[in-house]
């Protein structure tokens, strides 16, 4: 069975060939391939990681944006409400003030009118007094121009007194 017995010559050639192949490939070819593949693997992993990080960052940014927006909305609402309130208040105040002012003015005007009326009345009264006095003087002077008249007058007056006494 020559098939099953190793042939020394071929064994030697095989040792030499295989040895050279192993030396060259295991020294120069495969380590550099493995290194390159490792490098690529780590590069891809790094890229994936950074992409994931970027995504996370983006999500965070989005969240922050949403939060800021919500906050701004809230603030806006609050400001609007406050503004409305202040407006209302100012209006109210203005209203109150205006009515007060008006009242004051009316009161003032009334007072003034009163005072002026008094004055006018007083002056009218004094005028009327003077006029009536002078009128009375005139009438008296006319009526009591003669003696008889005077005596009649005295009599009547006396009668009147007597009636009132009785």
């Amino acid at each position: 069975m020559s098939l099953l017995t190793p042939d020394p010559g071929l064994v030697i050639w095989m040792t030499i060939s295989f040895g050279i192949v192993v030396l060259i490939l295991a020294k120069f070819a495969f380590p550099s391939i493995l290194k390159a593949v490792d490098k690529r693997t780590s590069y891809i992993e790094g890229s994936l990681k950074s992409a994931r990080e970027a995504n996370e960052e983006l999500a965070k940014v989005k969240e922050t944006r949403a939060r800021i927006l919500a906050e701004a909305h809230k603030e806006q609402n609050a400001i609007l409400k406050e503004t409305a309130r202040i407006k209302e208040e100012i209006l109210q105040e203005a209203h109150v003030k205006a009515s007060q002012e008006t009242e004051n003015m009316i009161a003032e005007a009334r007072k003034q009118i009163h005072a002026e009326k008094d004055q006018v009345l007083r002056s009218i009264r004094s005028e009327v007094t003077i006029m009536s006095v002078s009128l009375a003087e005139k009438i008296l002077r006319e009526k009591l121009g003669n003696d008889k008249e005077q005596l009649n007058m005295i009599d009547r007056l006396l009668d009147e007194i007597e009636i009132s006494k009785s």
Binding site: P6, L10, S17, F18, V21, L25, F30, V37
Partner: protein, 380 residues
């Protein structure tokens, strides 16, 4: 699928025609010369064995053969170097050397002593297998170095085409075979194991390729597989862990098994030898069997020539279909055997690298892997 069927049919017809032509030729020949019976067994064994020349092809006029250099050292005449064509003279003798026609050294060069005895000199001839080995080694070095250069030039860019395919191969072997079997320091061994894988795979494929530079039965030759097995044996036993050597020379068994008569030690040492031995036989037998089957099926065409053209044609059809089928199977086997050799080498290295703690795990993994490889073989 359709295309493949079409090709098979086409190939079948052309082969049948060829066989018919051969028949016509045979009749002519048999008229002039003596009947020449085709000896299939001889043909197959001739192919499986090594030879001193590389037969490329024959045409009707002549055979085209490369005569390879013969290098011999004999005790009587020292170093001898000549082309094997010198041996093809009438008396089959050149400087006292000739190719033995039968006996123990059949097909090998022997020295014919004055007493008429045949003696085998130290034969360092570049035989067909040796030449094929050198060629394939050179091709393998060129291919792998080319791939590594191409990858190194721009490591970050994923490769396309052939380089990409080789890269997938390399990564597959590393990720599925070397890493799980060896564990953490797999990087130290992966260059050797990858070389092993591609060496076997490339030579297997080259053996399936029927024309030059393929066609030699390199990995189906025990001289080749023995060197591969010895390589693995050396790697296993020179880089083992402390525990490995301890288990080898002082295993955890009752003392009486070890001390007066070193039974366990003998068993363990035989165990270390059987592992590479199994590797050697497995690769050799599988590839050789594949070549034998393909050759046998092909010879069916020529064996049945004498049985008439109807039988011959139908047998040709069967032969071609079977040969194509077996060739596909052999393609698979070429890969599987390279894979299994690498896998088992990695597992044995991993076992020898084993630390004290992770005992059970490794054993389980090994059993699983061994089962897997057995399964693959059974499938054939």
């Amino acid at each position: 699928m359709k295309h493949i069927l079409f090709l098979i049919v086409l190939f079948t017809f052309s082969a049948a025609n060829y066989a018919a032509g051969g028949e016509a030729l045979d009749i002519n020949v048999s008229n002039t010369t003596t009947e020449e019976e085709l000896n299939v067994k001889e043909l197959i064994l001739d192919h499986l064995a090594d030879s001193y020349e590389w037969h490329l092809f024959s045409s009707k006029k002549r055979d085209v053969t490369i005569h390879l250099p013969v290098i011999l050292y004999s005790k009587t005449s020292g170093w001898n170097m000549f082309l094997s064509s010198k041996l093809h003279n009438i008396d089959n003798n050149y400087r006292g050397f000739g190719i033995a026609t039968d006996g123990k050294y059949k097909g090998k060069i022997v020295e014919i002593l004055a007493s008429g005895e045949e003696m085998r000199p130290l034969d360092l001839s570049i035989t067909k297998n040796a030449a094929s080995l050198m060629l394939s080694s050179l091709m393998l070095i060129i291919i792998i170095l080319g791939v590594s250069q191409s990858i190194k030039r721009d490591p970050l860019k994923p490769k396309k085409g052939f380089t990409g395919m080789m890269e997938i191969f390399i990564l597959m072997i590393i990720d599925e075979v070397i890493k799980p079997a060896i564990g953490e320091d797999y990087k130290r061994y992966s260059p050797y194991l990858l070389t092993l894988f591609f060496f076997i795979f490339f030579n297997n494929l080259l053996g399936l390729f029927p024309i030059f530079p393929g066609g030699a039965n390199v990995t189906g030759n025990i001289s080749v597989t023995i060197v591969l097995a010895i390589g693995t044996f050396l790697v296993i036993n020179l880089t083992g862990s402390k525990k490995y050597y301890k288990d080898l020379f002082w295993p955890d068994t009752p003392v009486w098994l070890k001390v007066p008569f070193p039974l366990m030690q003998i068993i363990e040492i035989v165990g270390t030898l059987t592992k590479p031995f199994a590797l050697m036989i497995r690769l050799f037998a599988n590839i050789m069997a594949g070549h034998a089957i393909v050759l046998g099926l092909t010879s069916l065409v020529f064996v049945t020539v004498s049985l008439g053209s109807a039988i011959n044609t139908s047998m040709t059809v069967i032969s071609v279909i079977f040969t194509v089928f077996i060739d596909f199977v052999e393609l698979l086997v070429a890969f599987i055997q390279a894979y299994v050799f690498t896998l088992l080498s990695s597992v044995f290295i991993g076992l020898a690298r084993e630390k004290e703690t992770e005992n059970g795990n490794k054993e389980l993994a090994v059993e699983k892997l061994a089962e897997q490889s057995n399964h693959l073989e059974l499938k054939r």
